[in-house]
């Protein structure tokens, strides 16, 4: 340092020191100017030596030279009269005017520069009582001969002093790095132009060369987060200092024209605004923090909305709509915060935009030999990514600049090869750094967020194998480069000994040591949980404590499980995971332990046993070198967590899952922890592991906070602090600040891999290649009877629609219309659907409206239809019934009572013996008899056998003035076919003829229709399975197993609602869509359960559509614009979608 000629001399002396000390409370540490002053003040040498002990180490590795960043042109003022003071090109020395200080004594001691005194005193008199601090800002310049020449105008002095002064220091106790308040720049000056003979007040044009002082750079990047945290807390002295420094640097950059070579648009935007306002730059994040309470009321932030629209390239409509929503919400602020956090689809796209595989240059790597399957290329890429995420060698990835930082280029050439070309500036905190502030620091693991059905389980299994065999040397290679947090690096260094220690973890000192450090960092420690009610607050305390000495802390008491991976999955997937892992793995290479139910408790024993075991086939499986995988459910995790929280170090009898330090933890369907306050999430946060993974197809379900849980679980610093996350992400997002999205993008890029099935690789080929999908739309014509029924319903609906349309009531009576549409759609499937239980009430309402005429028409039509080939018999019974009914109109209660349930028969059926019963009761009874192998018979008179198709349903019409009561009959058991059913049967029969064994899936939205399909299939001898919303989890598994394993033709009937996460129907390759969905996307999703990874055959999809019905209209609308159908029926409320809805409805009802 001292070999550099100091060009800025601090004019301060002892008095200044004293003043400075008075100004500042904590002055233990020496100011950084000391070494520069050293040559002039021998009394300081002792101090310097003392400081050297502190500094020398750092010096060795930091930039040793000041670095040039640019030139500022300044109009200085002459303070002298006369000739020869200065000439063009002459060098000048800038110095701080210290002549005026608060303390009069300071002035008196001012001896060196007596010539200044008069002026300073004068000005001080003028301003003494008002702006004392301003006086501090004066800078004068001397020529090389030591004579003062002039003064730098105060507007420049103002910021320069902040960067040149040693005036403010932060105490170490506040956790702020000293360098943040040290001298930041050095200046050299030249006179460009001036009069030969100067008069006081003449303009002297100066050129100032600005250098960044070597000590300006933040050395420990891990301090950054703390500094940032501070910036959102209350304004402190330290923060003021940081703020002043930041503003100063901004000015310097502005005047020197230095622009970042890498930044993000939002920071630039902020910068621009700050400049235009002519004010100091708004500390955006601080503002954001204060915004939490009053989201949405701040006008300046509102302006930012325009920025959002510019930034999000696609789907601006959505964004605008959100913005509108905000405007309107101002009137009623309650509960709005929830909505603010919601993420719409275009935002979601933006969030994921940098998380894809493209542009990452992932080099596919082969799976380990013990991995049995062949990975697809994109899976190999994922393996590569996951492997690099685990090993920390994620170079392409590490290049993501931390979103709060900007990258600048020095304007001089490095003086040695070790000197960097670039430096980094955080415009929000004012920090400078000469090491790359990477967005991800501490992460080992990440979020595997590939879309559903791309094989996340398989990829994760490949990783299990990969990092079992991969050489562990990265543990050593990982040097403390300064990028990582110090504590973290320490932990990694000591990780290796743990690896070696396989069996005897308890008495290993190294292990204990590393755990202590980890405790500080990740701290799933017993100690914390005892006193800490709030999860966020204790964070700072242990950190501080750690610096003071880890030895004070109790050992965490973890047991290391060095080769064991913990997999947490939803209970229903326990078996699937086990099967999948075993299917993927060579025998003996993996041991899966399902830690659930009875298997709990003896974990350690199971893991330690290295025995050779005989499997079912009598082969000896050698587990001596296996990977252990413990699979457990969220439920078990929660109960273990509760046990863990209750236990103290002394009371542990059985260790819980949380008492181990796992090699790796994986949570599947990670959106299960999206709510951070749930036990699921809390327990997941608490799991201790070296590597952490979250698998989920939906990293953000609908709120940004969903992400917080994942980041917290993954320990992505600094985002795992909720207050931090909230003030830097959630709140800015809520106030429409584009920075939020940008920030999330960068965070996501650092820890999320998400590909979608339709993505393409670098060669433009789809990353996922599936067998072909053939979609046929089969147009069908109604039978004349069906047409009559349909038309009758349609006419009635249209009459009603037209009436509503006239009155302009369309949207108000939307539910009414929707019910009509529903009926029409059902009528297109099967006429019986429109008369069975669920719709009865509604139909009578409508009949009242229409005087009953249309209703009777339909009923008689149905009766005719139902009678089918047996019409004479039906007529005969009908007559008898009608007659009998007329005779005793007043049926007493018992007459109308079902003989089985003793209730009034809701749907009475008539047996051939003319005995009546509830339809449901008698069918239940018949089922029972059939199960017992007995013949069906009338429960009353035992006449039998009765076939279900002999049952006739009695349908009572509404009494009218002409008729007392109209009674119709129709076949009660819905085996009667319809056009659609017939078409399905024909297709299935064709399949049976051509393919022999086939597996097909039949989708419908109506479970009642699936009932009919089932009956029809039963009649025609097709084996079928059924899955709908009411199917229990257990039965689901049975059904899906059966579909997979059954060796023969089988048809799965499935309702829309039954489809859930991860449903895999790839063993089928024929799909029949029985009805038309409003939203084509949902239809596609349904098909994708069959047409997904794992499908080996071409998939044939048949969409049935009856011509000239609501179905082909809906298809037409689908074609017009899929999204609008969604809008039209999804209940969005913007004016546009209202118009669209009306248009769609009119389309449906236009004949």
């Amino acid at each position: 340092m001292t070999d550099e000629a100091p060009l800025f001399f601090d004019s301060g002396d002892e008095a200044d020191e004293a003043t400075a000390q008075n100004m500042l409370e904590s002055d233990e540490d020496n100011d950084s100017d000391m070494e520069i002053i050293a040559s002039t003040s021998s009394s300081n040498k002792r101090k310097l030596e003392r400081e050297d002990t502190d500094v020398v180490v750092v010096k060795a590795e930091e930039t040793r030279y000041r670095r040039y960043i640019g030139e500022i042109m300044i109009n200085g003022w002459s303070t002298v009269n006369g000739k020869g003071y200065a000439s063009s090109g002459e060098q000048v020395i800038i110095e701080r005017d210290k002549s005026v200080q608060k303390k009069p004594e300071a002035k008196k001691k001012e001896t060196k520069q007596s010539s200044l005194k008069g002026f300073a005193a004068k000005s001080s008199k003028k301003t003494q009582n008002t702006i004392i601090s301003l006086l501090n800002h004066f800078h004068r310049f001397r020529n090389t001969r030591g004579f003062e020449v002039g003064r730098i105008p105060s507007n420049h002095s103002a910021y320069l002093c902040r960067l040149l002064d040693k005036q403010v220091r932060a105490g170490v106790s506040m956790g702020i790095d000293l360098t943040t308040t040290r001298k930041v720049i050095e200046l050299t000056g030249n006179i460009i132009d001036c009069e030969d003979t100067l008069r006081s007040g003449d303009t002297i044009i100066l050129s100032l060369q600005v250098y960044l002082h070597p000590r300006a750079f933040t050395k420990k990047s891990d301090k950054r987060s703390e500094a940032n945290k501070l910036s959102q807390s209350q304004e402190t002295e330290q923060e003021k200092a940081l703020s002043a420094r930041r503003e100063g640097l901004m000015k310097i950059f502005e005047y020197t024209g230095l622009v970042p070579v890498e930044s993000n648009s939002v920071t630039l935007q902020h910068r621009k605004k700050g400049t235009l306002d002519g004010k100091a730059q708004i500390d955006h994040f601080k503002q954001a923090a204060s915004q939490i309470q009053k989201v949405n009321t701040d006008k300046p932030l509102k302006k930012d909305r325009s920025v959002i629209n510019i930034d999000s390239s696609s789907d601006e409509d959505d964004v605008v709509e959100v913005a509108d929503g905000n405007n309107s919400s101002q009137a009623e602020p309650t509960g709005e915060e929830d909505a603010e956090d919601k993420v719409n689809s275009s935002q979601l796209r933006a969030v994921y935009s940098r998380a894809g595989g493209a542009g990452r240059n992932l080099v596919p790597i082969e799976a380990a030999s013990s991995f049995n399957l062949t990975l697809r290329n994109y899976q190999k890429e994922a393996l590569s990514w996951m492997s690099s995420m685990e090993s920390g060698s994620n170079e392409p990835h590490a290049q993501a600049l931390h979103p709060l930082w900007e990258k600048y280029r020095f304007r001089d050439h490095p003086q040695s090869s070790t000197e960097p070309d670039y430096f980094y500036f955080n415009p929000y905190s004012g920090e400078l750094s000469n090491v790359f502030p990477s967005a991800n620091k501490t992460l080992r693991g990440g979020i595997q967020g590939d879309e559903m059905g791309m094989g996340k389980t398989i990829m994760m299994t490949a990783l299990l194998h990969h990092h079992k065999t991969a050489d562990m040397s990265w543990h050593v290679q990982q040097q403390p480069t300064g990028k990582g947090k110090q504590t973290r690096v320490d932990a990694v260094k000591t990780e290796k000994p743990i690896k070696i220690d396989q069996s005897d973890s308890d008495d290993d000192n190294e292990l204990t040591k590393s755990q202590e450090i980890r405790d500080d960092d990740e701290k799933p420690s017993k100690k914390r949980k005892q006193g800490a009610s709030d999860k966020n607050t204790p964070k700072k305390t242990p950190k501080k404590g750690a610096k003071k000495g880890a030895s004070v802390r109790q050992p965490g008491g973890f047991k290391a499980l060095n080769d064991a991976t913990l997999v947490v999955v939803p209970m229903s997937l326990l078996g699937q995971w086990r099967d999948e892992i075993e299917r993927c793995s060579a025998k003996g290479s993996v041991r899966t332990i399902v830690y659930y139910g009875e298997n709990r408790g003896n974990l350690e024993k199971q893991l330690k046993s290295r025995a050779k075991v005989e499997d079912e086939d009598g082969n000896v499986v050698d587990y001596s070198d296996c990977i252990n995988v413990v699979i457990t459910s969220y439920g078990v995790l929660i109960s273990e967590y509760q046990a863990f929280m209750k236990s103290t170090d002394e009371t542990i009898i059985l260790p819980t899952l949380l008492d181990y330090y796992w090699h790796r933890v994986v949570i599947d369907e990670a959106h299960h922890i999206k709510n951070r306050s749930t036990l699921n999430a809390k327990a997941a946060f608490e799991i201790a592991a070296y590597r952490r993974w979250a698998l989920t197809g939906t990293p953000i379900v609908n709120r940004l906070e969903d992400l917080y849980s994942l980041l917290r679980y993954l320990k992505v610093e600094p985002w795992s602090d909720f207050a931090f996350f909230k003030s830097f992400i959630t709140a800015p997002f809520a106030s429409q600040d584009p920075k939020a999205i940008e920030l999330i993008q960068v965070i996501m890029a650092s820890c999320l891999l998400r590909r979608e099935k339709n993505m393409r690789d670098s060669d433009g080929k789809p990353i996922v290649t599936l067998p072909k999908k053939h979609v046929d739309i089969v147009k069908l014509d109604f039978s004349p009877e069906e047409r009559q029924i349909y038309n009758a319903i349609y006419k009635k609906a249209k009459r009603k629609f037209d009436a509503l349309s006239h009155k302009g009531m369309l949207l108000k009576s939307y539910s009414n219309i929707f019910a009509m549409l529903l009926r029409l759609r059902q009528a297109a499937l099967h006429p019986f659907l429109v008369t069975s239980g669920g719709n009865k009430k509604e139909s009578t309402e409508e009949e009242e409206d229409d005087g009953g005429v249309a209703g009777i028409d339909v009923q008689s039509m149905i009766a005719k239809f139902a009678a089918g080939d047996d019409s004479n018999y039906a007529k005969q019974v009908l007559n008898e019934l009608a007659k009998g009914n007329n005779e005793n109109n007043e049926l007493d209660e018992e007459e109308n009572e079902c003989p089985i349930c003793f209730e009034n028969m809701s749907i009475p059926v008539l047996m051939p013996c003319m005995h009546k019963s509830c339809k449901e009761c008698v069918l239940g009874y018949f089922d029972r008899l059939e199960d017992k192998g007995e013949q069906t018979s009338c429960p009353v008179c035992r006449v039998g056998p009765i076939r279900v198709d002999q049952l006739l349903e009695v349908v009572y019409g509404e009494p009218t003035s002409q008729n007392d009561q109209v009674v119709r009959l129709r076949k009660a058991h819905n085996f009667q076919t319809s056009t659609k059913l017939r078409a399905l049967t024909e297709h299935l029969e064709r399949l049976r003829d051509t393919e022999g064994k086939f597996k097909a899936v039949v989708f419908s939205q109506f479970t009642t229709f699936l009932d009919l399909v089932g009956d029809s299939l039963k009649k025609d001898g097709f084996r079928f399975l059924r899955l709908d919303g009411t199917t229990s989890q257990k039965n689901r598994e049975i059904v899906l197993n059966e579909l997979d394993r059954y060796d023969g033709s089988v048809v799965l009937l499935i309702s829309l609602r039954a489809g859930g996460v991860g449903l895999n129907l790839t063993s089928a390759n024929h799909v029949f869509m029985m009805d038309v969905w409003w939203n084509e996307a949902i239809e596609k999703q349904a098909i994708d359960r069959v047409h997904r990874i794992g499908q080996e055959k071409d998939v044939h999809v048949v969409r049935f559509c009856i011509e000239d019905t609501i179905e082909d209209r809906v298809m037409h609308i689908q074609k017009r614009k899929t999204a609008l159908v969604d809008n039209a029926l999804g209940g969005k409320s913007s004016e546009e979608s209202k118009q669209e809805r009306i248009a769609n409805l009119k389309l449906i009802f236009s004949l």
């Binding site: 089985i900 349930c901 003793f902 209730e903 509830c918 009353v940």
Partner: protein, 153 residues
């Protein structure tokens, strides 16, 4: 209307048995369990059980009325179709059950069974044998048992 409405059926039956009891039959549900009935049947006139009051217990399984009620004599009775434990051999209580039958019809059938013992379909073999070999003597025993055991308290 199967499962959900079953308790309603039981309530209705119980109520009707109270309001409109068949002659010579009393059946009342126990206070603890609506499915458990205390039953007494009067021996039909002209039968060996005339004047006797027979106690029975009747219990409705959860699957009632898809399954028949369980009925048992508590009073000792000398009858070829009723064994020492009071179990009754009656087809409608077994394979001939129909959900259209009810407690009332079951009890009436039992009453009828008292009038017409059927030794060809015996449950109590010794009694049946007795009825077959010497009906008079057997009827006499039945009468004696009725006098001895089936008198109102």
């Amino acid at each position: 209307m199967a499962a959900a409405s079953l308790p309603k059926r039981i309530l209705k039956e119980a109520e009707r048995l109270q309001v409109d009891a068949p002659e010579g039959i009393r059946a009342s549900p126990s206070e603890q369990d609506i499915r458990y009935f205390d039953v007494s049947i009067q021996g039909p006139d002209g039968s060996p059980f005339e004047k006797g009051i027979f106690s029975l217990e009747l219990w409705l399984p959860s699957s009632y009325p898809m399954e028949p009620p369980r009925v048992r004599f508590l009073t000792k009775i000398y009858h070829p179709n009723i064994d020492k434990l009071g179990r009754i051999c009656l087809d409608i209580l077994k394979d001939k059950w129909s959900p259209a039958l009810q407690i009332r019809t079951v009890l009436l059938s039992i009453q009828a069974l008292l009038s017409a013992p059927n030794p060809d379909d015996p449950l109590a073999n010794d009694v049946a044998e007795h009825y077959k070999s010497d009906e008079k003597a057997a009827i006499q025993v039945s009468k004696e048992w009725t006098q001895k055991y089936a008198q109102p308290a």
